[in-house]
Amino acid sequence: MLIYLAKRLGLSVLVALFASILAFSLLRLQGNAATALAGEGARAEDIALIIQTYGLDRPIVLQYLSWLGDVLQGDFGTSYFFRTPVAELIASKVGNTVILAMLSLAIALALSIPLGVLAAVYSGTWIDRLCATISLLGQALPSFFLALCMVMLFAIKLRWLPASGDATWRHFVLPALTLGYYITPPFMRLVRAGMIDALGNDYVRTARAKGLPASRVVLKHALRNALVPVVGLVAVQLGLLIGGSVVIESIFALDGLGYLAYQSIGYRDFPVLQAVVLLLAVVYVVLTLVADLVNAWLDPRLRVS
């Protein structure tokens, strides 16, 4: 197990490194930071000064290595646009995004698991179709539209919840509901398919033959096996969510990572973007590792001896 973990960690470092190289070179292919920073109609001297200040004229490999050296010492550089250290900038935004991501995921699971189980147990009946409709609606509605409906209903009409901002937990309710409902359909489909598969298995018949109550047969014996593929999807979706949702963060004025990344692309703010990409690579790598460990716990056949 320890050897397995060590191998996985080594692989993770490689993946993160590769992602950062890719991000670094692609970003530089995509446009000239100096002209973007100087703004339109800037004088050639200003542009030359910027190039010199940030060392943009050096070979790309050198630029990368110096960046990597700084990162390894915990220095992510300074934002070209915000003029603050990147680490501080990201730290101030990542909290909002992570809270939103976790809440949305929790809501999506709380919706999709019961719906998927119900749909599978009553597959082919009106209950199945009702569950499918509830979840399909989440997929069919664009998230911005759903967000606006939520704001209209709960913030403007009923005045239960604030429409925008990130001051209290109440500010997170509407965006989390919107985002959670939006990502529910793939989870619900996976739970339903997994449950239908599991319920057809011999071990479910054995459990029923033992005289166990139906609830225990479904929620213990079938669900445990149906959840294995769901864990993988959780990892992927959580990665996406931590990358931030530009749309939701903008509509609800939640100052998060998604909006920061969006702004940084516009400003060609390389240090911020590189840090964000590296952060996401690390997040993905960690999430996949956690997903594998959770699956090994769920399904003992996956355990590496």
Partner: protein
């Protein structure tokens, strides 16, 4: 003492002219402590019969039965089957490789139903599980409790299934082809184990198989099924010594007999397969494959009886037997 009574059991899929009749008006009973074998080829409705008794039929199947009782308990009532299933009546299946849940340790799967039925504590249930694993001849049972199904061989898994079924000291064990998926030596061990357990614990067994060779080694009584109905029933001696129905006779001819079957001689086969009983069914279902079928076989077929031995055939005594 009669333990289980099944009276006029039918299992249908679909309705009307396209309805498939998997089991047609089957009746039999099982006495305390006896082994009843239900034999027939694949597609005869054997497994559907056992699932119908346990109320485990697939949702699309329809069951109708005049009487289905275990002792005094009516198994057609929800409360009745809830009290009996997995408690006084247990079942083991053909595929030990898939019948256990891969996600839970053996011990958990063995104890959960016991705790549910008896209200015993986890400690008591665990001790009971260890006792049962030892009973079915599994070495170092404490260690096995923590293991998962994929860590056990097929033979061991079937032993675990048997031990699990015996946890609640059932009066009746339904074994649906429990040895079919196992290789021959393991098959013999499991068979010996079942016979041994029955002698010691006095449980009744319904043993479902297509293998008449096995039947001859364990059965007290035999029900021969064809196309969803009982074509012959009798004690093991009656069935093997004086088979009356041509189908039983044909099945017996398929068994190789050491010492009797000549080297190089062809074993008997029954041409064709069991026909699906769809829509309205008339006459004897076996007539399409029967060597001694007559034009009368598509009419009403008399039920014949000689003591405990009964059969359903147009012929008074099997002409096959007379010619042999």
């Amino acid at each position: 003492m009669t333990l289980l009574t099944v009276d006029n059991l039918s299992v249908d899929f679909g309705r009307g002219a396209k309805a498939l009749h998997a089991v047609r008006g089957l009746s039999f009973s099982v006495a305390e402590g006896e082994t009843l074998c239900i034999v027939g080829e694949s597609g005869c409705g054997k497994s559907m019969t056992s699932l119908a008794i346990m109320d485990l039929l697939p949702r699309i199947a329809r069951r109708s039965v005049d009487r289905l009782t275990m002792g005094e308990t009516d198994l057609t009532r929800a409360a009745g089957i809830r009290a009996v299933r997995g408690n006084q009546m247990a079942m083991i299946f053909q595929e030990p490789m898939t019948a256990l849940n891969p996600a839970f340790p053996i011990g958990d799967q063995m104890t959960e139903a016991y705790i549910h039925h008896t209200g015993a504590s986890a400690g008591v249930a665990r001790a009971r599980a260890i006792e049962m694993l030892a009973e079915v001849g599994i070495a170092s049972p404490e260690k096995r409790l923590g293991q998962y199904p994929h860590q056990l061989s097929g033979g061991l898994r079937q032993r675990v299934m048997i031990a699990m079924a015996l946890m609640t000291s059932p009066k009746l064990l339904i074994a649906d082809e429990p040895t079919t998926a196992l290789d021959v030596t393991i098959q013999a061990q499991i068979l010996r184990l079942l016979r041994d357990l029955q002698k010691r614990l006095g449980i009744a067994i319904i043993f479902i198989t297509h293998d008449l060779g096995l039947v001859s080694r364990i059965a007290d009584r035999v029900v021969v099924m064809y196309a969803g109905t009982r074509v012959e029933e009798g004690t093991a001696a009656e069935i093997f010594d004086k088979p009356r129905h041509p189908y039983t006779r044909a099945l017996i001819d398929c068994i190789p007999q050491p010492g009797k079957t000549e080297r190089g001689a062809m074993l008997g086969t029954i041409p064709g397969v069991v026909p699906a009983m769809v829509g309205e069914v008339r006459g004897c279902a076996f007539r399409t494959r029967c060597a001694v079928a007559t034009p009368l076989c598509d009419g009403a077929i008399p039920k014949r009886r000689a003591g405990s031995h009964s059969w359903v055939c147009i012929h008074e005594t099997s002409p096959v037997e007379a010619s042999a």
